[in-house]
Symmetry: C2
Subunit: 280 residues, 2 copies
């Protein structure tokens, strides 16, 4: 199977490494950064560069870029792809990319696209941090534009074969709403948390809870600003809901009302237990 990957950063690089580890894939990669291309080559993560030539007989093209780079990069290769090449992507926001693809489908009626978002990542970026184990047991979210059920099944099985633990199929709208909370809000909270003045003096005074809360304070500002701005409706709703809840704790604390604070903590504790109990 011949696979093209556009973008060889943490995600695209990890994908290339995973495919090479599994074997049976011919992988052609492209990255705008020359050093990344060299590294991908040296690491043996790709068989060669993805060009308009090598793209001609791809079975699958996977785009692993910021949302802003998505459209132009797909458009570059679309004219040369053979009929039936499946296009999929790793973009963290789905309404925009799906709308872009719907537009392109008017010009390229044979275009087959299934949007994807791997629920995997690290607080680092770049091919140097990519690993062939990144997707193990993670969830893969798929959103469909115009592909038939057989193609959807094929893409689903492809991702499961890479080690993903499950594949969830949903609408772009629901994806963006869910991800605003499960991923984007976590990054904002962590990134804001570390700004408290006393954070710089935490050594010797912290344990697991501080470590967990601040892990994703480290992030790629350009990429996340783009993803978050494109999802501002959902994300600001989630953020304001959280701020509203935090204010309740603050008010209880200021009153020194232990019973009220205990009630607030109990509600959160009960909800956490209830949600965890639904785990498969």
């Amino acid at each position: 199977m011949k696979i093209g990957i556009i973008g060889l950063g943490l995600m695209g690089g990890s994908l290339a490494k995973t495919l090479k580890k599994l074997g049976g894939y011919e992988v052609f990669g492209y990255d705008i950064d020359e050093t990344t291309m060299l590294k991908a080559d040296m690491l043996g993560a790709i068989n060669g560069e993805l060009t308009v030539d090598t793209a001609k007989d791809l079975d699958m093209l996977i785009v692993s870029l910021y949302p802003s780079g998505f459209l132009s990069s797909v458009e570059r290769f679309l004219p040369v792809l053979k009929d039936g090449t499946i296009i999929t992507d790793f973009c963290g926001i789905k309404r925009q990319t799906m709308a872009d693809m719907r537009e392109l489908a008017k010009k390229y009626p044979n275009l087959v696209f299934i949007g994807g978002h791997p629920m995997a990542g690290r607080e680092f970026s770049g091919i140097d941090r990519s690993v062939s184990t990144l997707f193990e047991k993670a969830s893969m979210i798929l959103t469909n534009v115009n592909a038939d059920i057989f193609v959807l099944e094929e893409v689903k099985n492809f991702y499961l074969s890479l080690g993903f633990g499950e594949v969830v199929i949903t609408t772009p709208e629901y994806h963006d709403r869910a991800i605003a909370f499960t991923s984007q809000l976590c990054h904002i909270v962590s990134n804001a948390f570390i700004k408290n003045e006393i954070a710089s003096e935490h050594f010797g005074y912290s344990a697991g809870s501080y470590k967990d809360l601040t892990r994703v304070a480290r992030l790629n500002p350009e990429m996340w600003a783009e993803l978050m701005t494109m999802n501002k409706d959902n994300l600001s709703k989630e953020l304001d809901e959280l701020i509203g809840n935090l204010i309740k704790y603050s008010e209880a604390l200021k009153k020194g009302n232990k019973a009220e604070l205990k009630q607030l903590l109990s509600e959160g504790n009960d909800r956490k237990l209830l949600i965890d109990s639904r785990k498969k």
Copy 2:
């Protein structure tokens, strides 16, 4: 060495198990809950019950209780302790316990007390969840009332011998200020975060960042409400600082101002990198 432990929950139970694993200690424990006492016995975590009889020749008495239970439990044993018995505790708040001990020291001038707070824990409670590895590599914070430097050194070495990675000596005031951020604020954020309506639908849409953010949403509401209310000045300052920062992200998002959002994210990212770079 003969050690008494009051309170055999997660922390006290883990301490008893650690001492028994190390060997060379005779451990007497007391817990208000009869089932806990039975379990401690059955697990071989204690040699016997801590009573006014067995307390007579203790070398060290360690109190591992909620702050509200601290004073009365210490007072029960003080009259029978031999001269030179070192008293220490595991209480998560230090201004109040240190003040209590200063009061008691007026009545018992030979009282030797060094406050302690192990920077270790789990999102579970009770002796069933206690483990002999809980303190491994963790930090132990000590606050001193009236003990001389030799006793302080002895207590420090005692804790290091249990597997603690470092011992930090500070004032009760600084302890409470730091802990408001490194521990208490984490618990409030996590506990509030899980209340967002969409949290109950996260399956298939979440990964490490959600898992980390919500881990300590599960907590003991009674104990934390007590600790937090006793530290309300410091904690509400930290909480309001966080809320103030979160509002900045919310405003940038609502304006759809990507540059402003990127700036906010960059500041958090830079701060995280700077703080991590100071790690020993």
